[in-house]
């Protein structure tokens, strides 16, 4: 891994088309400005999983979406009002830090 030290206003260049500028340095955060062509995807790394999941969600065909919507309406209509999905409760209640939040009010 290459390690560089930079000050506010300085930048680094990656390849020919990408520049990353240090805009602001706070006590626990840096603000970066990224210059790249519009077709270069730039995102916070932790968003990659969400991106992938969203792209999968967008792949539904009209027919599948319709069937899915019907099934989901049915699922929700069977859950008691204000009730927790058993599946969620079972998985989540094993987590000590959040257990109290999931107890029925």
């Amino acid at each position: 891994m290459l390690i560089l030290r930079r000050r506010v206003g300085e930048a680094i260049a990656i390849g020919n088309g990408i520049e990353i500028e240090i805009l602001e340095i706070g006590p626990s955060k840096v603000k970066l400005g990224i210059h790249a062509s519009a077709d270069t995807p730039v995102q916070r790394k932790e968003m990659m999983r969400a991106s992938q999941q969203n792209r999968q969600a967008a792949e539904l065909t009209a027919q599948t979406r319709r069937a899915l919507a019907e099934n989901l309406s049915e699922l929700f209509s069977k859950l008691p009002a204000g009730g927790t999905d058993k599946n969620f409760e079972a998985r989540y209640s094993g987590h000590p830090s959040k257990k109290e939040n999931l107890e029925p009010a």
Binding site: A50, Q53, N54, A58, E70, L72, E74, T84, G94, N101
Partner: protein, 156 residues
């Protein structure tokens, strides 16, 4: 800004829609995976509550299916980071889950192996006061990106 002028949009699934501006959610950072998509119409179909269709204003073919996380977990432990809170312009009194004008939507996907799943690890949080929305990553490791939905009958 939230106005009352109608927005005309075309959906590949719903046809031409003439929606009140209040039905449009704005994503200041775009939707992850679709960074150029900043505006989605939130559409509810009678008889299909609490499902919410999120139809892109710009792309007729882009339509996601979602539902409020409380539909399966009334005590969903939503956390909103300070960055997300800033993007949503949350007021100090807007606190989950007490505030009625905060909405958290889980996006539904169909996985080849698991079937229908909901993304509980990264719900869309909507500030209903200004219709701004962000996908808010949860730090809680027990929340799944592909939470399996046990559908009653027909497989999807």
């Amino acid at each position: 800004m939230v106005g009352s002028s109608p927005t005309l949009l075309f959906s590949a699934y719903f046809g031409t829609l003439n929606l009140n501006e209040a039905a449009i959610l704005s994503f200041p950072q775009g939707l992850p995976g679709f960074e150029t998509e900043h505006r989605f119409a939130a559409i509810q179909i009678p008889g299909q509550q609490p499902l919410v269709y999120l139809q892109s204003v710009a792309t007729a073919e882009l339509c996601l299916l979602a539902f409020p996380v409380q539909a399966i977990a009334p005590n969903f432990p939503l956390q909103i980071s300070s960055d997300d809170s800033e993007l949503l312009n949350l007021a100090p009194d807007q606190i989950w889950p007490e505030s009625p004008d905060l909405l958290a939507l889980a996006i539904v996907a169909v996985d080849a192996e698991i079937g229908a799943t909901a993304n509980l690890a990264a719900p869309l949080v909507v500030n209903l006061r200004n219709h701004r929305a962000v996908q808010a990553l949860q730090q809680e490791p027990a929340l799944s990106y592909r939470y399996p939905l046990s559908l009653p009958s027909r497989a999807c």
